[in-house]
Every structure is written in C-alpha cells, then in structure tokens.
Symmetry: C2
Subunit: 440 residues, 2 copies
C-alpha cells in the first residue's frame, strides 16, 4: 500500500496553481542562475562542483563529496566566417569541441560542398585536398532521439576523416532540428596521430544560405577564423552523495546526471534538469520512509567532452555491488517509455515497475535499457538498469546551443519526470529481490 | 469582369504542388542569398541597389534607377557582457543602432535594474548616476503589432534619457516575443546635444537570467564592452521603377517597401518579402492588360536607421500627383485586415476593394490607413492610402534579430499577400474615379 500511496502522492504534486518550485526546478534554476555555463575543466565547472556539494548537503544527503580527476582542457576562441565569392555574406558558425585552429589571420580558401556524409566519403581525395569541406546532412525530429546516432557521425568522425584526407577545414550543418541562427556544438574525435584541423557547425539557416549560394554553381570562397586552443591537463571531478538505506548489503541504487555543460548555453536541459529530476525523486523516496537500499546520486563531471566522469566513477566504484545504475540525460521532455535490463530473478519487480509507470501513461518498450553515458560502463559490466525515456522531439532544437537556457524548462513536464522516477526508485530501492550482480 | 477574373487567377496561383517560385519568393530568395544583410550606408546596401535595378529591369519595369542621398553612418563593433558578481556569467546582448561605445577596455560597473520603463523614469537620478541601467519591459504578442509602439519607447527614447540623467550605459530586454538567445537591435534616438552612451538589448533568456540574478538581492556588477562607431556621411539611395499606365494624368500609384536591412539578419521578413510582394502584385496587374495609372515601385534605402529614403522620396516627388501611396513592411504573415484613407469621391472604389478582399477572407478595420514608414510623409501630405495589414503575431519573434532569414518565409503566406495586393492594386490603378489630391 505504501507504494500506491507514494505514487498517488507524486501524481497529486502536479502543480495546478502557483506553488513553491519543486526541488527539481530549484536545482535547475539555481545551477543556471548561480553558475551558468560550466564547461568541463574550467573554473566554472569547479564552481558548479562546490555549488553541488553545498546544495546536496543542504537537501539532506549524506557524505556529499567531490571525487577529482584530470581531463585534457580545450576552450573556444574567436569564430568568424564569411563567404567572399560569389556573393559576400557572413555566416554564423561555432567550433566543434576539440576543433583545431586556423592561423590567427584565418584561412581564405575554396569551399567544396556535399549533401551527405556518404557523398563526402565517396568523393576522391583530390576533390577535397586543401579545401574547406562542407557537409550538409539534415536531421529530422525523432521521439526517441535515434537520428542523433546516425547523423551525429558526421560531427564525431567527419573532421578526423577530412584531416586524414587532406582537407584544410571541415564544416557541417548543425546536428539539430531548429531553424534559429544558433549553431550546435559538440565534441569531435581525432583518430590517433591525426593533427586536428578547424572544424565547425553552421546554424541551420546559415547552412541553408551556404547551400543556396552553392546552388548558383560558381566557385565559392570563404574567409574562416577559428581560434580555439587546447589548454593541457585541467581539473574536473564527480560530485557524489548518498541517502543511506536500511540494508547496506542489498547493493547501491545509483542514479546519475551530468553536472558539466557545454559552453554556449547554460546547460539547463543538458543536464541541470537531469540532476534536478533524479535528486528530487531520490529525496521523495527517502522522505516517505527510509528505503531498503542506499540511493547514491552521481552528478558526473566532464561528460560532454568524453564521459570522463563516467569513466572515473567506474574505475573507483566498480567493485561495489550495484542494484541499479540509471541516468537522466535527455532534456526536459516528458517520459513516454520504460526499458529494463534486470537480472533473472527480478521479473516480478519488472512487472511492478511497469504497472506503476503504466498508471502514469508510460508504456514499456522493446529491447534492453542502456543506462546513460555516465553509467554506461557500469551497465556494460553488468549493473541492472532501467531507462525512463524522455520525449526527444524538441530536444535537438536546443541541444548544445546557446538556447539551452532555463526559460525552456516547463515545470509541469519536470514534475511528470520526477513522478515517474519516484515511482520507479521507490520500487527498486525497496525491492525484496536480489538485484546486484549481472543483469540480462 | 476583368477584375473578377484577375482575382480568381490570383487565388488559383496558390501552389498545391512544387512549382517554380513566384516573383515575390524569387526576390526574397535572391536578396537574402546574393546580398544578405544590407545595413544602410554600407557597401552591402550599395550592392543591393545594383541588384535591385538589374532585377526590376529584367522583370520588365521601365526606368529602373537609383536616387542617391547621404546618411550618417554607424557600424557595429565588438559586443560582450559578463555579470562578474554575485555570480559570474556571460550574457548575450547587441548594441542598439547609433549606440555609443564603451572604452576599448570596457566598463566594469554596478548594475541597477528596473522592471518597467515607468519605474526607471520614476527613480531618482542618484539611483542611476554612473551605473549600468537595465530596464526589463516584457512585450506580449499582438496581431496588429500595436505593442511595439508602447514597448518600443524604451529602446527609442530610453538611452537618451538615461544619458541625460547620468547613467553610464543603458541596457534593455529585447523588444521581442521569442525565447531565443538572439537579441533584437533597432535604432535609438539621441536628443539634441546628448552624448551617446553605450546602449544595448539583451536576448529574452539573458534578460531572464539577469533578472533572476537580481532577485537574489546582492549588488550586481558587470563587465560591458561595446565598440560600435559612427562613420560619418555615407552613401545610400532609393531604387525606383515604373510600369507605365495608359493615362499619365490620372496620378501615380506608389507601392513601397524598404531595401535596406539591419545587420544581424539577412532582412528576409524585414523587408525583402515586402519588396517581393508589391513588385509581384504590380507585375500581375500590368500583365493582365495595361492599367490606367502608372504603378511606381519604391524600394527605399535607409529606412531602418531613420526613414531617410522615405524623406528623400518625399522631397523629390511630393509635387507629383499620387493616386495612392501604400507599403508592405510588416513581415511575411498573412493579410487579415484592410484600412482606407481615400478622398471623398472614392466611396465606390472603397466598396469594390473591400468586397474583393472580403472574398479573400480579409475584413475592413476601423480607423484610417497610415501607409508605412517610407510613404508616411506622402500620406501625411494628403496622398490616398490603403493598408493591407499583415498578421504580426510572430513578427516580433524575428524582427531585428539574426533570425530574420529566408527559411522563415512560408511561400503560401507570401502568395496570400500577393493575391490581396494584386486585387487591391488592380482596382485602384484602373479606377475611373479621381483619386489624386487630399485624402480624408
């Protein structure tokens, strides 16, 4: 009966009138207002860690602490682009994370354009050597965000491939679904021994303009200036805290988000909301009566620049038994689906969670839960997991842009997330079944 | 019968399938692609004039020409702002047109905030002297755009008043209805003998952030850098062309738009669409059989920086009899209302125009037509006018921002505009009534 009452209580907290903000909203508002952008390895990320320890302690968590690690630093510099022929016009772009730099005086070169990543890969090296390469992959909306996997390749792998093939610089259409002149950044990866070249994303309207200019058929030339720089090893760290359970031998329930953000926005939906949601839900479970298992929150550092926090957590804590490893890191949309990865003996728990979520309109999906970036290694090593999938239809309007700001967060949507997480966490943290061990 | 047939033909051109773009869309696409931003007094505005003469000539207009004039030049420089206390965070803002500059090293000062322009005006001078003043007026959507008049005051008059009262700089919440981190610029006016101070608009999300920081109650400090500069007298000009009528004594039908744009966007909805709409409609009228009156198109220069083109037109052409002076300069939304300012003997024409537009779902509004900025002096001096009012509900999402780009233009909405203008222009340019002279 306790679980039913708790679920009902969670549902009844959906605000009908102006009320004090929920803990989830207060965390989101606080991080975006009192810290703002918090790029991994910067002084701002360090301020965010201090803010987080203070906040979690004030909320009643035990043992709130920083677990430090070191990452390779990189910071944005100036960024300017202008088509100089056939029609002079400035374009708005932004460097991809870990982009190389142009000379301080910029590059002035011919632009060669490809409609898709496949067309770029199929072109002969001679067509791109010494040129600024542009690839115009355009991504449509998906509820589950799955297009980011395929369309994101051009950002993650394209610059390295272009560098290996002799391109002078690599530009892409933003991996985004909006039509605002706010380009989408995100980290790119360089293959071993590849020297980084300048790599940047144009906003969708600017990509449209470049493609319309290209459609006229004349040779296009561009002045390009990008002056980001690698800053060497820099401090980062995870923030961890617990709500102790009654049974220390029953395994930890780990719920994660990431504390760092990219530098253009204030990291509201990526991922302050995630930290707000999991923390608020954990507190609601504990406040309804001490739960069986210890719930640990992980506010991971340096996720955006290579999941360094998730790796550090795994290295430090992989020997501890985990009954669950789950994460909220897909924005501020409502939860529409649940997926599971639970051990054999947990079929009854799975049914209880599915039923509780069905009562909130959330259906069970096919396939296994994957956790999230920061718990991915834990799940890969066998920790049980449950995915509460958020609606991503609008996520890629904002993701990795300047527009990721607090005003985009709908308190009613966040409350729906907290209610679902509360129901799930309550059932898992109090489950009598044995959960720690290898999940299927 | 000819008029009915023409209206029917215009309606039937609403595209159901992919078709060649209309002249209106081709002008909008061409100006935004082959010229782009065209700030008054710059080399880009000069390129736009050359583009316009070539385009109008190619479309079959007679006597396409440039009528030059000179304006005071101003160009944007660097613009950076950062709250330094109590919570360090960068903010996105943009200088208002004709803003003064900070020192090259920027300003580092206390910020004082006011929720409304009235609150700023009511505050004692001592509260603002030597400080960075922020006013957070927030504008809601209106279909007729009327809120821009009242809320725009803080942009037009606020900086001058703040300078007179001793403020070091003046910041406002953007006069805009969107929630993107793209601030809205627009020109401000300095009273006689007032030395310009730095004046800028924050994007709505950044204004929200500043207000949330202010709500914590601690003294706020900011580093502000703005380096725009006045560039002295610069060349601008109007582009004018005609479709000759059968009766040179019947007065001119003047239809206007403005060719210049602000510098942040590509001037798609402000006002390439206006030029496309009036030009396409004029051509459709002429192609259906030579009309009685000469139709003159005015693509005005330097509207955004002080309606210099409208003033130059009035000075040069006020002695010529005008049967109509109308303008399209309110974006790319559908026309929803018509207003009139016609001479006494034109009641029957007014009824015919109202009937033709009612057939397109456009109702007649109360009050008199005002023309538009570039024909305002002509209308003020007695030229008849008809306003075809566009729906402005979304106009101030884009107006004067970087987001004013071609992708925001819906071809079906533009076709609706052209159909309405075609119906109105056909009736006015062929009306047997005497129209030139003082309108009521």
């Amino acid at each position: 009966m306790k679980n039913i009452a708790l679920i009902a209580a969670a549902l009844c907290t959906l605000p009908l009138h102006a009320e004090a903000p929920s803990t989830a909203m207060a965390i989101t508002e606080g991080l975006t207002t009192e810290v703002g952008p918090r790029l991994a390895g910067t002084e701002a990320e360090a301020r965010a860690r201090d803010w987080a320890v203070k906040k979690l302690t004030a909320l009643g968590f035990a043992n709130a602490r920083i677990e430090p690690f070191t990452i390779p630093g990189w910071v944005r510099g100036e960024e300017r682009a202008e088509i100089t022929a056939p029609f002079p016009q400035k374009l708005i772009l932004t460097a991809l994370g870990h982009s190389g730099a142009t000379p301080a005086s910029g590059l002035s070169l011919e632009v060669v354009t490809f409609p898709t990543y496949a067309a770029f890969k199929a072109a002969p090296d001679a067509a791109i050597k010494g040129k600024i390469v542009y690839v115009g992959h355009r991504m449509n909306r998906t509820q589950d965000g799955s297009s980011y996997g395929s369309f994101g390749q051009v950002r993650r792998d394209g610059p390295s491939l272009a560098a290996q093939r002799g391109a002078a610089a690599f530009l892409i259409r933003s991996i985004g679904t909006d039509d605002h002149r706010l380009p989408h950044t995100g980290v790119t990866s360089w293959a071993k021994d590849v020297k980084p070249i300048p790599a940047a994303a144009l906003s969708n309207p600017d990509a449209d303009t470049l493609e319309r200019v290209a459609s006229r058929g004349s040779t296009m030339r561009m002045n390009l200036l990008l002056t980001p720089r690698f800053t060497g090893p820099q401090p980062s760290g995870n923030v961890i805290a617990e709500l102790p359970g009654r049974d220390p031998g029953a395994g930890l329930v780990l719920v994660a988000c990431h504390l760092d953000s990219l530098d253009l926005g204030t990291g509201a939906i990526d991922d302050a909301t995630g930290c707000g949601i999991i923390t608020d839900a954990a507190l609601r479970v504990a406040k309804s009566g001490q739960q069986r298992r210890t719930i640990r929150v992980l506010w991971a550092g340096a996720e955006e620049v290579g999941v360094f926090g998730g790796d550090a957590y795994f290295q430090a804590h992989k020997a501890e038994p985990h009954a669950l490893a789950a994460e909220s890191d897909f924005g501020a949309g409502r939860i529409w689906q649940v997926k599971f990865r639970l051990p054999d003996g947990a079929a009854a728990l799975k049914a209880r969670v599915a039923e509780a979520l069905a009562a909130q309109g959330i259906g069970a999906g096919a396939g296994l839960a994957h956790g999230g970036a920061d718990v991915g290694q834990m799940v890969g090593a066998g920790a049980p997991s449950i995915d509460l999938s958020q609606d991503g239809s609008r996520y890629f309007d904002l993701h990795h842009t300047g527009d990721d700001s607090f005003d985009k967060v709908d308190p009613a949507d966040i409350e729906q997330n907290v209610a679902a997480w509360t129901a799930m966490l309550d059932l898992v943290s109090n489950a009598p079944e044995q959960l720690e061990g290898t999940a299927r």
